[in-house]
């Protein structure tokens, strides 16, 4: 596919976006008919050109010219058909994105079944789809005012009878299989899944009694005022994973933060002299504690409840372990860092690197951080630019995604951090990054940006929305790639740019769309249109960093009217960070590991 094909399915949404979904759907309906007419015209003209070409006689010259002209008209109509098909596809994709943002699952399911018909989308559309299943929806009788609603009676069924836990889990499992295999994927899988995630969360929350919430999460809302159940369900799951991790993986007393080394004489110096590692003590107990009883799912309820109970056991019964809710700063506002004398293997030398003027270069850097190790890594870039008053500094904090699919092991980029980040509860990763920022000596006036892929993106959005961070630093921008960031609304001068491939189901794990978030932008795109392939000639996984890097590179190199807001964000980011021709950038990589001592 070409860049043009990729441009067909790009939707940038922000708080300023005004959409009229019924009007768009009516337009699509009319254009579908126009498309059929256009194809018929093309066929007729082809036949006409052939017949004109067979005319004979003395004055055949005129007939030949006529045949040629009809042939040219035919070619133009063929191009027009292609353009119109792309246009309809673009409108359809846009309407679905907007529909998902409105949060009306029934309407979304019906639109999807109409625009991207498949057995799955039909079944999801409503309870009475059986008679219509596998029929061509476009050919079914439609009304003029609401063409997408006519085939399904009872569009509000879903709201009146919420989906039961098992059904939602079943759908989520189907989407998980599609995500893993890539088979049966359609361009808005991710948007469909998010409704099922929210359904699962609602099932969980309807049957949960809270005993303790712990600290108030930053950026998310739990409890009766919440508009979404997913953060709260994530808090429950996080608490359970914490407890089970404690039991299965042993006690953890601290996070060890490996500082960048001193390096060679000609390399950029580390920040300040000090030990190779720092120790961040952890508190013992989970911050959330609740009881869940999901009807018909006693095993799952038991898993959650027992896990949370294990997480709340006092210190000593299961020795120490990682907490998800302690602060990086003590009551006096000092960073709670203690020098660590024990050895900690990975030490990175600070080194000068190319200044990431383009956001795609930042995403590229994420891929250089540790993958699949027993320890985690994040990178802090220090940008130094000569200004009128001397050197001026700005910073990029680069965070990689999940590396450990359990909880409580040595790598802090794990499921516990995932759940805590979606819940808005502080995690070991946020604590480690806060500590490293303090260690680097970032000044309150110096612009900071957070960048992350997957879990790294949620953590980036979480940190940028964190009160401690906002009070101590000047957060200029946030860039996330494939991250479920709904609910976070960082207030920054440039704004947050969320890249979401709508075939990637990870951004759907927040259970809702990103809406009404000030100057923050969400860029939806269909990653498959990039046609990226692995060295084995297989399609690149939808969540892969490469998809996001290439998409960002496309926005940088081939801006369009539709991506004008992305271009403006890029310019504002570079300006806020003061990045220029003469900027020098130094990379500092910190390592992280949970420790049992």
């Amino acid at each position: 596919m070409t860049g043009d094909d990729f441009d067909t399915r790009i939707v940038v949404s922000s708080a300023k976006t005004v959409a009229d979904i019924p009007a768009l759907m009516c337009a699509i309906s009319q254009l579908h008919e126009a498309m059929r007419d256009l194809q018929a015209c093309h066929s007729e003209l082809e036949a006409l050109a052939n017949r004109t070409g067979t005319l004979t006689g003395e004055h055949i010259g005129n007939a030949s010219v006529a045949a040629e002209s009809i042939g040219r008209a035919c070619s133009v109509l063929l191009s027009s058909s292609y353009q119109l098909a792309r246009f309809i596809d673009s409108l359809a994709y846009t309407a679905l994105i907007y529909s998902a943002a409105e949060g009306d699952a029934a309407t979304f399911a019906q639109l999807r079944a109409w625009l991207y018909p498949s057995p799955l989308s039909y079944f999801e559309a409503g309870p009475l789809t059986a008679p219509f299943t596998f029929a061509t929806i476009a050919d079914l009788p439609r009304g003029r005012s609401r063409p997408w609603r006519q085939v399904w009676p009872g569009s509000h069924y879903r709201e009146i009878w919420p989906r039961p836990f098992h059904l939602s889990v079943g759908y989520a499992a189907i989407y998980g299989t599609i995500f893993g295999s890539g088979v049966g994927s359609d361009p808005v899988d991710s948007l469909a899944l998010q409704f099922h995630i929210e359904d699962i969360s609602r099932s969980l929350m309807r049957s949960t009694h809270w005993f303790e919430h712990g600290s108030t999460p930053s950026g998310q809302m739990l409890g009766p005022h919440a508009t979404s159940a997913t953060p709260e369900a994530a808090a429950i799951a996080g608490g359970a994973f914490f407890g089970w991790g404690r039991l299965l993986n042993g006690s953890r007393r601290s996070i060890i933060l490996g500082r960048p080394g001193r390096g060679a004489q000609d390399s950029p110096a580390p920040l300040k002299p000090g030990p190779r590692t720092l120790r961040l003590p952890l508190r013992a107990q989970s911050s959330v504690w609740s009881r869940t009883l999901i009807p018909g799912a006693p095993g799952f309820s038991g898993f959650l409840n027992l896990g949370q109970s294990l997480g709340t056991l006092p210190e000593g019964m299961l020795t120490a372990s990682a907490s998800g809710s302690s602060s990086s700063y003590d009551e006096a506002g000092r960073s709670s860092l203690a020098p660590e004398s024990k050895s900690f293997p990975p030490t990175h030398t600070p080194r000068e690197v190319a200044t990431p003027h383009a956001p795609s270069a930042l995403i590229e850097r994420i891929g250089n951080l540790a993958e699949g190790k027993e320890y985690g890594e994040f990178e802090i870039l220090k940008h130094e630019t000569q200004g009128p008053k001397g050197s001026e500094y700005s910073w990029s904090i680069i965070i990689r995604g999940t590396q450990e699919w359990t909880a409580g092991t040595t790598n802090i980029q794990d499921m516990h951090t995932n759940f805590n980040a979606i819940a808005g509860v502080e995690s070991d990763q946020t604590r480690a990054i806060k500590a490293a920022m303090a260690d680097m000596g970032i000044q309150p006036t110096e612009a900071v940006e957070f960048v992350g892929h997957s879990q790294g993106g949620i953590v980036a959005a979480q940190l940028a929305s964190d009160t401690e961070i906002c009070n101590r630093y000047t957060v200029a921008a946030v860039l996330t790639a494939g991250s479920p960031t709904a609910g976070y609304t960082p207030v920054t001068s440039v704004g947050m740019l969320n890249l979401e491939n709508t075939r990637d189901q990870v951004p759907a794990l927040d259970g809702r769309e990103n809406v009404n978030r000030g100057n923050n932008l969400t860029v939806h795109f269909d990653g498959r249109s990039l046609n990226l392939q692995t060295v084995e000639n297989e399609e690149v996984f939808a969540h892969d960093m490469t998809v996001y890097r290439e998409a960002m590179a496309h926005f940088e190199s081939a801006p369009t009217v539709a991506t004008a807001e992305i271009s403006a964000w890029m310019e504002a980011r570079e300006r806020a960070l003061g990045l220029g021709e003469g900027t020098h950038t130094t990379s500092y990589v910190y390592t992280t590991q949970r420790s049992s001592w």
């Binding site: 300023k16 768009l24 007729e44 005319l55 010219v65 045949a67 008209a73």
Partner: protein, 86 residues
């Protein structure tokens, strides 16, 4: 023979006129279909795409008008030849 040719040309001209009318109707649909209150860069891009498609279809119509003019000439020539024959 000339009569047969004249009938054939007349039929082709009628079909051509019919197709031109259908394309005009498609153009009208394109121009008039409303996007409602949709605003923002994506809406601007959609309007621009629509304008380009209408422009393309106008090109097609121009080619068809040329074809029609030549077919008309061809018919006139046939007609003249038929008159001369009789």
């Amino acid at each position: 023979m000339l009569n047969v040719q004249l009938e054939e040309v007349n039929e082709l001209l009628a079909l051509l006129a019919q197709t031109q009318a259908r394309i005009s109707s498609i153009e009208t649909t394109l121009v008039l279909c409303s996007f409602g209150l949709w605003e923002g860069p994506a809406a601007q891009e959609a309007q621009e795409s629509r304008r380009q498609m209408v422009m393309y279809m106008n090109h097609a119509q121009e080619h068809l008008a040329t074809a029609r003019a030549h077919l008309d000439d061809y018919r006139s020539d046939l007609h003249t030849a038929a008159l001369a024959f009789f």
